[in-house]
Symmetry: C2
Subunit: 172 residues, 2 copies
């Protein structure tokens, strides 16, 4: 019996991941710990004995979903709360629904921040670096679209990197 | 329609991954491109339109499997073929069976090397570095065991990192 740190995320299309990584490789020290992603549930601790019960519940959540579209048009920042710059995922009921389901029932309910669907491209920069980076990116526009048909349960290794434990495909 | 580079691998337990990463972080330039893994099928190109057919076939292969044990007791090297040093996975019929199934039927059959189940911990070192590293590691003994109950289909991003596309659990 051991507690591992788990998280739940969506990996968008390779195209969107390649765009995100072109920025992450310069501005995000977390760059190679996990592929570009939309977090649905932040890191939470669960006993390895209990994770398969959570996985069953995630299976049910995924089974009730249908694939849905996401769109990305611009960059935004969580400043002044944190210096995180991100690709803003346009408001999306399906993402909000998934986030809510994953904080109810048998799931730990804590959530540090209100849910804002995003793909982080820069974080942990100094105030000045953040101003520079965000200043140069906030004028950018994108026309990125993807169909989401699955999410992933991951766990974190001792060195901070993440490994996928299981994929949950919608409608199965 | 786009060709992506796919691969198929097993991620062993967090314990084994942590051991592997303690070496990889020093000796493997591929360290953060993918978590520690046992490759079942080396990188192959498939059209994104065709991958879900392959995934269906992988589902069938996984459905017929039962969880099996793997053991790791020592370090070995592929030298002089390549300077890759690895955690040697003890000979295992289930791994061999999976490797064979993934090179038959609708799967590309090419395989650069004979199948030797392993977890790479050092690669792309100079001849001298390899001698030093392997010399210091070949006396080590391990007593690592794990139950394998799934494998993963991954694709490679432009920067060389890998993203999991789907997990296949045995007997489902």
């Amino acid at each position: 019996m051991k507690n591992l740190k788990y998280g739940i995320a969506i990996f968008p299309s390779k195209e969107i991941q390649d765009v995100a990584n072109s920025y992450r490789k310069r501005y995000d020290p977390n760059y190679k710990n996990i592929p570009p992603h939309i977090t649905l549930k932040e890191r939470f601790k669960v006993n390895t004995d209990e994770i398969d019960q959570l996985a069953k519940e995630l299976n049910k959540i995924a089974a009730d979903m249908e694939p849905f579209e996401i769109e990305i048009h611009k960059v935004s920042s969580f400043s002044p709360v944190t210096n995180t710059v991100y690709l803003k995922v346009a408001p999306n009921e399906s993402l909000t629904y998934l986030n809510e389901k994953m904080h109810q029932g048998i799931f730990p309910s804590e959530q540090q921040y209100a849910f804002v669907p995003h793909i982080t491209i820069s974080q942990d920069l100094s105030e000045d670096e953040h101003s520079d980076v965000y200043g140069s990116m906030k004028m950018l526009t994108f026309d990125l679209k993807d169909t989401v048909d699955r999410f992933q349960l991951l766990y974190q290794l001792e060195d901070g990197t993440w490994t996928v434990y299981e994929t949950f495909k919608f409608g199965q």
